[in-house]
C-alpha cells in the first residue's frame, strides 16, 4: 500500500466520522475560546470526596457483573484491590487515586519524622538517637540504625532504672505513622498488663532512627531480663500504621535473629493496640517463666 492510498483511506475515515479539516479547526478554537474567555476563575463551594475514606472492602466497581453480589460478599473478607473494574485497559480513576494515595501514605510514613512533641509531652518519653545523623543515613546504613550514639548511651545510663525485669521502649523503625497511631494505646496496655502480673518494668523511652537490632545493645546496657521494642513496620498499601513488638529474653549483641519473638500487625484494623498490649504483657510473663524467647519459646 503506497502513501497515496493510505491518505485516501484516512480522509475517508475522517469524512465518515464527520470531521472535516475545517470542523476540527472550529472545535479547537472554540475550546481555546472557552478556556481563555472567562474573566476570573470561579471557586466552587464544596470538597472533592476524600479517596482515602473509601472502604475498599465494600467498593465493587465491575459493570454488569455475572455474580456481583457473591463477589462483593467475598470482597468483604479482605481489603484487596479486586473487583475494581476497568476503563479500557486501564484502572478507573477512583481506584487509581486510592492506590496513589496509599502509596503516598506509605512514603510519608517512612520519610517523615515522628513528632517530638507527641513523644515527649503526650507520651512522656525522652528521646535518644542511634548513630544515624539523619533520615538518609538511617535508610542507607542499616548497621548504624542498630547502634546507639555515645550521647544516647550516656543518657540511658543516667535516666534509666538499672537491671529492670522488663525494659520497654519505642522506636520509629520504618513508620512514624505507626508510632503516632498506636503507642498511646499500646504502651499503657502493656504496662497495665505487667502491673496486673506484678512484673517490674524499667523506664520507657523513644529511640529515633532505631532498627530492631538496637534492642540488643539496650538490653546489654541496662541489664534487662526481657527487652521489648515497639517499632513501626515497613508500610504497605493496606496500612501505613502497622506496628510490631519484638521481644527477647536476655538479648545480646550478635545473638541469632531466631531468639526474637514478634507480634505483628498491630493497628486499628488488625489486632487493636490496647488488646495487643495485654497480649504482649502475657507473652513477657511466659518468657520470664520459661526463660526463653523466639523459636526456643513455644507459645
Amino acid at each position: 500500500m503506497d502513501q497515496k492510498d493510505l491518505k485516501a483511506i484516512i480522509e475517508q475515515v475522517l469524512a465518515e466520522m464527520n470531521i472535516s479539516g475545517a470542523a476540527a479547526e472550529t472545535a479547537a478554537s472554540a475550546a481555546q475560546a472557552a478556556c481563555c474567555a472567562g474573566s476570573a476563575p470561579v471557586v466552587e463551594d464544596g470538597c472533592i470526596p476524600d479517596v482515602t475514606e473509601v472502604n475498599i472492602r465494600t467498593q465493587y466497581l465491575v459493570k454488569n457483573p455475572e455474580h456481583g453480589e457473591e463477589y462483593a460478599e467475598l470482597k468483604a473478607n479482605a481489603p484487596c484491590r479486586l473487583g475494581i473494574g476497568k476503563a479500557g485497559a486501564r484502572y478507573k480513576t477512583d481506584p487509581m487515586l486510592q492506590f496513589r494515595a496509599a502509596h503516598s501514605a506509605a512514603q510519608d510514613a517512612v520519610f517523615n519524622d515522628v513528632d517530638h512533641d507527641f513523644v515527649e509531652k503526650q507520651m512522656g518519653l525522652f528521646i535518644v538517637q542511634t548513630q544515624c545523623e539523619n533520615k538518609d543515613v538511617y535508610l542507607t546504613r542499616p548497621d548504624l540504625g542498630r547502634k546507639l550514639s555515645p550521647e544516647a548511651v550516656a543518657t540511658l545510663k543516667e535516666k534509666c532504672k538499672k537491671s529492670p525485669t522488663v525494659q520497654i521502649y519505642v522506636a520509629d523503625g520504618l513508620s512514624s505513622a505507626a508510632v503516632a497511631a498506636n503507642v498511646a494505646d499500646l504502651l499503657p496496655a502493656i504496662m497495665q498488663g505487667l502491673q496486673s502480673y506484678r512484673i517490674d518494668v524499667g523506664t520507657p523511652f523513644f529511640v529515633k532512627f532505631g532498627r530492631v537490632g538496637v534492642m540488643d545493645e539496650i538490653s546489654e546496657l541496662l541489664g534487662a531480663e526481657v527487652t521489648c521494642t515497639l517499632i513501626g513496620e515497613r508500610p504497605g498499601l493496606i496500612t501505613a500504621e502497622s506496628m510490631s513488638a519484638y521481644i527477647a529474653y536476655k538479648a545480646t549483641v550478635g545473638m541469632p535473629e531466631a531468639r526474637r519473638t514478634v507480634v505483628s500487625n498491630i493497628h486499628k484494623n488488625g489486632t487493636i493496640p490496647a488488646e495487643a498490649g495485654a497480649h504482649i504483657a502475657e507473652i513477657i510473663k511466659i518468657m520470664l517463666e520459661k526463660k526463653a524467647s523466639g523459636t526456643d519459646l513455644k507459645l
Binding site: 497495665q192 505483628s264 500487625n265 488488646e275 513455644k298 507459645l299
Partner: protein, 476 residues
C-alpha cells in the same frame, strides 16, 4: 498445633432418646508472629448410638433410671468414660421438656456426662441444633440461598431459617408424627390441638375409633399445610397462630424461603415416602411424611437432602453447642470450669453511656438474688466502639461501679463480651481491684438476656476457653 476435644450430645426427645460422641479439632490459625486466632476447625461424629424410644413412666413423667441405663450402656459400647469428655450437651427436647421431672432426669445424668457436660432445653435452641445437624446452615451458605430446616419430630416441628449461612429466625409448631397414636388398628391417643385442627376441617376423630388410613391421611395433609404456612409458602389461616408451641411466633416472612431440608424422625418418610405398613411405629409419622412430600407448596421450592435426619438434633447438640472464646482473654484458671451461670445482659442502648451501663447492672442484680443471696452471674455486653486504652479504663471503672455486689460476693467476677477487648479490660479491672478479685473476662461470645453460660477449662495452650451458651427461654 491441633488439639482434640471430645464431646457428647444426648437428646431425650418426645419419642426417641439417642446420643453421639464427636471430636472437635481446635487449632490456632494465626501465624506464629501474630496474635493467636484459635478456632474449631473440624467437627466429626465418631460414634452414633442406637435410637431408643424415650422411656416414660407415665404421660407426664420420664423414666430417669431407664434413661440413665441407656446412656451408660452406650458409653460402654463406645469405650468412653465421663472423664474423656471435655464438653457437650444433654438436651431434653420437644414435648418431653414439658414433663414434670425433666430436671431430675438432667441431674441423674449429670455425673455420667462428664465434668463439663450440661443440660439444656427450649425449642428455639432445638430448632437451631437440628438445623445445624441437618446441615441447612451449610447448604444455605454454600448455595447462597435462603434455606429452612424443618425438624419434624414426634411432638413438634422445629423450624430454623438461614440466609447465606446466617440464622434469620426460628419457630416451633405442635405438628409431629406421634400426636396421633395407633394401637391394634385403633386410635389410642390424639393431641388436643390436632383434634381441634381436624374438627375445623370437618373431620371428627376420637380415641378408640378405627384408624382409617384415608381419614388420617387427610388430617396429615392439613398438618403438612400448616407447615407450608409456617414457611410463608401460602397465606396463614385462622388456625395457624394457635399451633405454635407455648404461644410462640412464626419465623420472619422475609427473606422468602428458597429451599428446605427436613430432619427428625418423620424426615426419612418425607425423603422416601412409602405406602406400606404405615402404622409400623404405632403413629401417623409415615403418613405425615408422605403428606408433606406430596404437598404442592413444598414442590415450589428446592428440596435439599439433609446431612442427618433422625439424628440431626443429637448431632447438633454434640457438635454445634460448643464454641471457643476469643484468643486473647483474662481468666483465673483455678476458678474454671463454671456451669449454668445466668447472663446479666446490658442492652446496647444502656451500654452506650457509661452511667446507664453501671445503672443497668445495679438494677438487674435483684433478679439474680432468688433466695436473698447473690448467685454467680456473668455480666454481658458488646463492648462495641470502646477500643482505646483510655476508653477501656473508663469502661472498667463503670463495670466496677455497677458490679459492686458481684465483686463483694465470693464468686469470681465473670464478664462476657462480644468485641475483642477481653484481655485488656480484664487486666484493667484486675489492677483497679488491686488483684483482690478473680476476674474472668472473655470475648468473642454473643449472648442474649436470659441465656446461661458454661465456661470450660482452657484449651490450645491456654489461649481460649470452650463456651456453651444455653438458651433456656421458650420462644424468646
Amino acid at each position: 498445633m491441633q488439639e482434640i476435644v471430645k464431646s457428647v450430645g444426648i437428646d431425650i426427645g418426645t419419642s426417641t432418646t439417642q446420643l453421639v460422641f464427636s471430636r472437635l479439632v481446635v487449632e490456632n490459625l494465626a501465624g506464629s508472629y501474630a496474635v493467636p486466632r484459635v478456632s474449631i476447625v473440624q467437627k466429626e461424629v465418631v460414634y452414633r448410638s442406637n435410637i431408643y424410644f424415650t422411656p416414660l413412666l407415665s404421660a407426664t413423667e420420664i423414666d430417669a433410671e431407664a434413661v440413665k441405663k441407656i446412656v451408660w450402656e452406650e458409653y460402654k459400647a463406645a469405650g468412653m468414660t465421663p472423664h474423656d469428655l471435655k464438653t457437650g450437651a444433654v438436651i431434653i427436647t420437644g414435648e418431653t421438656a414439658r414433663k414434670q421431672n425433666a430436671n431430675q432426669v438432667l441431674e441423674a445424668l449429670s455425673d455420667l456426662a462428664g465434668d463439663f457436660v450440661v443440660a439444656t432445653a427450649g425449642p428455639d435452641l432445638e430448632s437451631v441444633l437440628s438445623a445445624r445437624g441437618a446441615g441447612a446452615d451449610r447448604i444455605s451458605e454454600e448455595e447462597r440461598k435462603t434455606v429452612a430446616n424443618i425438624d419434624v419430630g414426634g411432638g413438634t416441628s422445629n423450624i430454623a431459617l438461614y440466609q447465606k449461612g446466617i440464622l434469620k429466625g426460628v419457630s416451633c409448631l405442635d405438628i409431629g408424627g406421634r400426636l396421633i397414636q395407633v394401637k391394634n388398628g385403633k386410635i389410642s391417643y390424639i393431641f388436643s390441638k390436632i383434634q381441634a385442627l381436624a374438627k375445623k376441617h370437618g373431620i371428627d376423630i376420637q380415641v378408640g375409633q378405627q384408624a382409617d388410613i384415608p381419614t388420617l391421611t387427610r388430617v396429615c395433609e392439613f398438618m403438612a399445610d400448616q407447615l407450608a404456612q409456617a414457611l410463608f409458602l401460602k397465606p396463614q389461616d385462622a388456625e395457624h397462630r394457635g399451633l405454635y408451641t407455648n404461644d410462640g411466633t412464626s419465623i420472619p416472612s422475609e427473606p422468602p424461603v428458597q429451599g428446605v431440608t427436613f430432619s427428625g424422625g418423620v424426615a426419612d418418610y418425607i425423603y422416601n415416602p412409602t405406602t406400606e405398613d404405615v402404622f409400623r411405629y404405632g403413629d401417623i409419622g409415615v403418613l405425615l411424611g408422605r403428606a408433606i412430600r406430596s404437598h404442592p407448596a413444598f414442590g415450589q421450592i428446592e428440596l435439599y437432602q439433609a446431612a442427618e435426619t433422625i439424628r440431626a438434633t443429637v448431632v447438633g447438640a454434640g457438635t454445634h453447642t460448643t464454641e471457643v472464646s476469643g484468643s486473647t482473654i483474662t481468666y483465673a484458671a483455678d476458678r474454671l470450669p463454671i456451669k449454668n451461670v445466668p447472663i446479666l445482659k446490658v442492652s446496647e442502648e444502656d451500654e452506650a453511656v457509661l452511667e446507664t451501663l453501671s445503672a443497668s447492672i445495679i438494677n438487674q442484680m435483684p433478679l439474680y438474688r432468688p433466695e436473698g443471696r447473690t448467685e454467680q452471674i456473668a455480666i454481658a455486653f458488646t463492648g462495641r466502639g470502646r477500643t482505646s486504652f483510655a476508653d477501656i479504663q473508663m469502661l472498667a471503672e463503670a463495670v466496677i461501679k455497677g458490679a459492686k455486689e458481684a465483686i463483694e460476693s465470693p464468686f469470681p467476677l465473670v464478664l462476657v463480651i462480644e468485641n475483642d477487648i477481653g484481655k485488656v479490660l480484664g487486666n484493667a479491672i484486675r489492677v483497679k481491684l488491686e488483684h483482690k478479685k478473680d476476674v474472668i473476662c472473655i470475648d468473642g461470645i454473643r449472648t442474649l438476656s436470659g441465656d446461661y453460660i458454661d465456661i470450660g477449662e482452657p484449651l490450645a495452650n491456654g489461649h481460649v476457653v470452650p463456651v456453651v451458651i444455653k438458651t433456656l427461654i421458650f420462644n424468646s
